[in-house]
């Protein structure tokens, strides 16, 4: 049975204990750079584990293709990201939990694809995020508000003018990781969805100061993880793992995904 990978903002390991003890640690060597160390947690007797990889530093300095390649290499099928996001919409405030349901790509230097030599990157973005994981999040974290996510090029913050523009475009939150992760994941037929924790307000608003609400929201999200994990259907019902069927049938992609280019 395929594993789950959690990409998360740095969190105390203690809060992940409910997912099982650490049974393994690995650094994965990918053609796009080394990834890890990743820690695997697994309940005694369970056949499926959860790999954890913290988001380290700025996404501008790591190649997101490395992370997704590593996930595939570890036998992961599903990726759940937990990311700190900026609340652009004025009714979003620090400590809110959100569920991105669509995205706008405003990155500039992120890789656009694994496939520079074939047409295999021509992939529909409907649905933009994995329906199975999104449904499990909605079920176990009903307070997570559906939002349109704008993926920006970090590490800088957006300006106030940009924050207003992004809202005119229809975006409600801004972040630095999910784009291009979500569409690169599709290219490798991986499931991908995310929980957002609002950690700051858009630059067009008064700065928000913390009173522990982000810590509380993080705890809420982490406490829901075992239930989200348990709610995921087996086998997957979403179809993400069949996104390259046509490319394989047409001979554009070989059977061995490690030879995909």
């Amino acid at each position: 049975m395929p594993h789950l990978l959690i990409l998360a903002l740095p969190i105390p390991p203690r809060s992940l204990e409910k997912l099982g003890d650490i049974t393994e640690e690995q650094v994965v060597r990918s053609p796009f750079g080394d990834v890890g160390p990743l820690a695997r947690r697994q309940q005694p007797g369970a056949s499926t584990g959860v790999w954890i990889l913290p988001y380290f530093g700025s996404p501008t300095h790591t190649d997101p293709r490395a992370t997704l390649w590593a996930a595939k290499d570890l036998g992961v099928q599903r990726i759940l990201a937990i990311e700190g996001m900026v609340g652009l919409a004025h009714d979003l405030t620090r400590g809110d939990i959100v569920l991105p349901t669509d995205y706008i790509d405003w990155t500039k230097h992120q890789p656009a694809t694994f496939f520079e030599k074939t047409g295999a990157g021509y992939i529909s973005q409907k649905p933009p995020f994995c329906p199975d994981i999104s449904a499990a999040i909605r079920g176990q974290l009903p307070q997570a508000r559906p939002v349109i996510y704008l993926g920006a090029e970090g590490p800088r913050h957006e300006t106030a003018a940009e924050a207003r523009m992004f809202q005119q475009w229809g975006a409600q939150v801004r972040g630095l990781n999910l784009v291009p992760e979500t569409y690169l994941a599709k290219e490798l037929e991986l499931c991908f969805a995310a929980i957002g924790l609002i950690t700051a307000h858009g630059a067009d608003r008064e700065r928000a100061y913390g009173k522990g609400e982000v810590r509380r929201a993080t705890r809420e999200a982490l406490e829901a993880l075992p239930a989200i994990f348990a709610a995921l259907p087996h086998p997957p019902a979403c179809g993400c793992n069949h996104l390259q069927d046509r490319a394989r049938q047409r001979g554009v992609l070989p059977k061995d995904w490690r030879k995909w280019q």
Binding site: I104, T113, K117, G119, Q125, W169
Partner: protein, 248 residues
């Protein structure tokens, strides 16, 4: 071949890679040219009408199969090669997704303007003596020649094309943003080709074949898609007619 004989280059997009050129009478090639930006893609000279000068033809995405998606083409090599051949007009055909409500799969539109949402492509030769052109985005006379060659009038009179980076398709949120910005059709091809052509003083116009509805824009219609050989077989004759109409 005297380069002065050929003044039009037809850049084939969707389905050009699988097209059998025999009915359009290839008279020379395919050949490639060495440019300062690397080797050009293969170019074939076609002379469907012996009374007309030949036209050059190039399949943008490769031959036999889609070998390179739009973001990974050597745009500078092909446009420079066109200049070396003495080309004064480039006609492009390319598949687009429909954003504007009035468009159906199978419609043909000739864009009048463009919004560039690509992010990694080189949009200039960077040569100090070459200046970006001012004036209309698509060349009015070249565009008029395509319009005069269409079997039916444009379903929308002054379409705007938005160019995305790709190779992935767009999200619904992105399409909604482009619609609000004024775009009628979406594709991944025309930037930077048109800007490079402008720098070299080559007239450029495009024939867009609506291959699909952009994400979220089927508007209750059956989600049809048309990427098959019919796209190439429809577009090439129209552009050959346009080549005969345009005054070089």
């Amino acid at each position: 071949m005297n380069s002065h004989d050929v003044s039009t280059l037809i850049m084939g997009g969707t389905a050009a890679y699988g097209l059998d050129l025999t009915p359009w009478r290839p008279v020379q090639g395919p050949f490639t040219l060495q440019t300062p930006y690397g080797e050009s893609p293969p170019i074939t000279l076609l002379q469907p009408d012996p009374g007309q000068p030949p036209v050059a033809f190039c399949s943008r995405h490769g031959r036999d199969a889609l070998q390179h998606s739009a973001a990974f083409l050597n745009h500078r090599a092909v446009i420079w090669a066109a200049k070396m051949l003495g080309i004064s007009t480039i006609f492009s055909w390319n598949g687009v997704g429909a954003i504007a409500e009035g468009l159906e799969v199978g419609n043909l539109v000739t864009p009048a303007d463009l919004i560039d949402f690509t992010r990694k492509r080189i949009t200039t030769f960077g040569h100090p003596d070459l200046r970006p052109a001012s004036g209309p985005t698509f060349h009015p006379a070249a565009r008029a020649a395509i319009i005069a060659s269409l079997p039916n009038p444009n379903p929308i009179p002054i379409p705007t094309y938005v160019c995305t980076e790709g190779p992935r398709l767009e999200t619904e949120a992105e399409i909604e943003l482009y619609r609000r910005a004024g775009a009628d059709v979406v594709g991944m091809t025309l930037s930077p080709e048109i800007f490079l052509a402008q720098e070299l003083g080559i007239r450029y116009a495009s024939l867009c074949y609506v291959t699909n509805y952009a994400t979220g824009r089927a508007l209750g219609r059956a989600p049809k898609r048309q990427f098959g050989p019919v796209v190439a077989r429809t577009c090439l004759p129209i552009l050959i007619r346009a080549a005969a109409l345009i005054d070089h």
